[in-house]
């Protein structure tokens, strides 16, 4: 079957006017490359930021309810203005803990939380880690190593020793903390809790996650040791949840607030400022893409207006011969779409080459020697579909104005040579 009239004319005009065709394709290809580069870079950057924030913490925390401040005397009695003398326990010294947590663990598991990757009962608290004369503040986590590893992957990031199978009296610490303390595998360090309790442990493993906050100030000990240090008995200080989708944390936390009598926190409320930054970044990215699409569309439209103007007489003759407005309009709609499609495909190939090259560039940390990607590129199919879709739709839309001008050509004017 022969090609439709409009498509046939559009293809001929494109191959005949090679300079203009190549120029238009070049504009579209450059725009698509820019769109894909910017969006891949911004998404990659956001993934890196989110990963930096969330990889080393639980996405949702289940904590004991904060108790209302207790007055040390009965308020009803206080109205008689009697002065009471005694020791007032400091609010911050009262421990917040979850007693009898095993049934709660079973209940939380029974909730079948969507996208739950790990559920960790743990104790956490601030300690001073000391070795001889050196003292450094750190966060001590008491948890089963295999369970904790599903929250923060320490096993994969061990630079010395072991993590799984950690025994009582043993601890793993971050590389930076170990360096700052001047300790090595097998050395003993002591931990002093805020309550004044002391615990001593042997360094069984040293990890390097690449997250400064984790490597420089985290100690992990078995759950029982942590409970002992913080004098919690059999209680824990909370549960940590790791989700497959980090951005589902707020939704999961909201649901749990209605189902559990505990304080529920999500990483998203704790990191509102970082999320605000990400949102601003996304907005900027969308604006750059929008301006790129608009400028690309205007360039296509301008080039096609020139094309229509140069074809004015031929179009008039075609109309005099019986070409319908739709046929004439379709010539330029086809041209806009085809030029955009070819430009988008070339732009995709160019951006793929550029992104693969950029993603191969590495930077090495001077302190840890760890090699990381210089550009955090995230190649997603969605990006490519959106980038190409935008280009083709823009090409089609940009061709509408010149195409409608072409369809309005008056054959009478053309015939008279005016």
């Amino acid at each position: 079957m022969p090609a439709p009239f409009a498509l046939c004319v559009a293809l001929r005009q494109m191959t005949h006017n090679r300079g203009q065709t190549l120029l238009t394709i070049g504009v579209v290809a450059t725009s698509v490359t820019l769109i894909l580069f910017i969006s891949s870079l911004i998404i990659g950057l956001q993934i890196r930021i989110v990963s930096t924030v969330t990889d080393s913490i639980p996405h949702v925390r289940i904590l004991p309810q904060e108790r209302a401040p207790e007055v040390p005397w009965d308020s009803a009695v206080a109205t008689d203005a009697t002065v009471r003398v005694g020791v007032v326990p400091k609010l911050e010294q009262r421990q917040r803990k979850i007693e009898g947590w095993q049934p709660w663990l079973e209940r939380i598991e029974a909730l079948e939380i969507s996208g739950l990757n790990a559920l960790l009962p743990s104790v956490e608290g601030g300690v001073v880690v000391s070795r001889e004369s050196k003292r450094i503040s750190a966060r001590l986590v008491g948890a089963a190593p295999e369970d904790y590893n599903r929250i923060v992957d320490l096993q994969q990031n061990l630079v010395a020793g072991r993590f799984f199978g950690l025994d009582g009296g043993e601890a793993v610490i971050g590389l930076k903390l170990a360096t700052d303390l001047g300790v090595r595998l097998g050395d003993r360090v002591s931990f002093l809790s805020a309550e004044g309790n002391r615990h001593t442990a042997t360094i069984a493993g040293i990890f390097d996650t690449g997250f400064g906050a984790v490597d420089g100030a985290t100690v992990v000990v078995p759950l029982r040791d942590g409970q002992s240090l913080f004098q919690l008995g059999n209680a824990i200080t909370g549960f940590g949840l790791k989700l497959r989708d980090v951005f589902a944390a707020e939704q999961v936390a909201g649901d749990l607030r209605h189902q559990l009598p505990f304080k529920i926190e999500s990483w998203m409320e704790d990191n509102e400022r970082a999320l605000g930054g990400l949102r601003a970044q996304s907005q900027s990215s969308r604006m750059i893409i929008a301006f790129t699409v608009i400028s690309s569309g205007l360039a296509i439209a301008a080039l096609m207006v020139i094309s229509v103007s140069s074809k004015y007489r031929e179009l008039g003759i075609l109309k005099a011969m019986g070409a319908s407005n739709g046929q004439v309009l379709s010539i330029f709609a086809w041209q806009g779409t085809l030029l955009s499609l070819i430009g988008a495909l070339l732009g995709t190939l160019a951006s793929l080459a550029l992104l693969f090259w950029l993603s191969s560039l590495k930077t090495v940390s001077l302190t840890t020697g760890r090699a990381t990607d210089l550009f955090p590129i995230a190649l997603t199919v969605g990006n490519f579909i959106i980038g190409n879709g935008l280009a083709v739709v823009t090409g089609l839309l940009a061709s509408i104005y010149p195409a409608s001008r072409a369809a309005k050509v008056d054959p009478i004017v053309v015939i008279r040579g005016q």
């Binding site: 022969p2 001929r12 075609l318 011969m321």
Partner: protein, 239 residues
């Protein structure tokens, strides 16, 4: 066999008034008929209404008065879509400025009305068009682009384009206006052949009296009205 109605073209009291702040009357009470095989020249001084009449016959414009029948069909008030279809199916146009499409070769340009009609029309008509190219001495120029042809050759390709869809009649607007006398004579002879051998009607607008006298009949317009409608003696009167 297709029955061609007679008369092929019929105008009854056709008038045209252009609107605007001061309405202008371009044609008034124009009535005549054209039969198959007739070569009619329309002449008159500049501004007499020749072009307006040709535009009405080509359904590029609409009459404000009267009725127009083409091939027995009343086409006075057709919308632009239906008018386009009639132009494609019944009419062939020859313009003073041929405006061939530079991206297509001579044969493709000539077959353009068939491409507009869609389907396999172009393929069906191609053998006949090749024969016509040869007959007009353009057999070796079939695949040349317009830019590679002389002015006379381009105008002959434009005439072949007008014949592509095997139309019932051809409207020619100053077809030799841009040509030298040699090429003009050739085009004139070709239009005669169209009427004599192919039995099609030709209506030609011209200001060239010599060219007009080569037609079978000359209609002279003056101030939008027919001043005279006379045979030239080029063709014996029927019967």
């Amino acid at each position: 066999m297709i029955t061609i109605p007679s008369p092929l073209i019929s105008l009854e009291g056709i008038g045209k008034v252009y609107g605007g702040e001061v309405p202008t009357r371009a044609l008034q009470g124009v009535s005549f008929t054209v039969n198959t095989g007739e070569f009619v020249a329309i002449v008159g001084s500049s501004g007499c209404g020749k072009t307006t009449l040709l535009n009405l016959l080509g359904l590029l414009d609409r009459a404000t008065e009267g009725t127009l029948h083409l091939a027995g069909r009343n086409v006075t008030d057709l919308d632009s879509r239906a008018a386009g279809q009639v132009r494609r199916d019944l009419l062939g146009f020859i313009f003073q400025f041929h405006y061939l499409l530079p991206e297509f070769d001579a044969l493709e340009n000539a077959l353009m009305p068939c491409r507009l009609a869609g389907g396999n029309r172009a393929q069906e008509r191609e053998p006949a068009m090749r024969a016509l190219f040869t007959r007009l001495g353009l057999g070796t120029k079939i695949h040349k682009r317009p830019g590679q042809l002389s002015g006379g050759e381009q105008q002959r390709v434009a005439i072949l384009r007008a014949l592509a869809n095997d139309p019932l009649f051809i409207l020619a607007d100053e077809p030799t206006g841009n040509l030298d006398s040699h090429n003009a004579a050739e085009i004139s002879a070709l239009l005669h052949d169209v009427t004599r051998e192919m039995h099609r009607a030709v209506i030609m607008v011209t200001h060239d009296q010599e060219m007009a006298m080569k037609a079978d009949r000359v209609i002279t317009l003056r101030d939008g009205q027919i001043e005279s409608d006379r045979p030239t003696g080029q063709r014996p009167a029927p019967g």
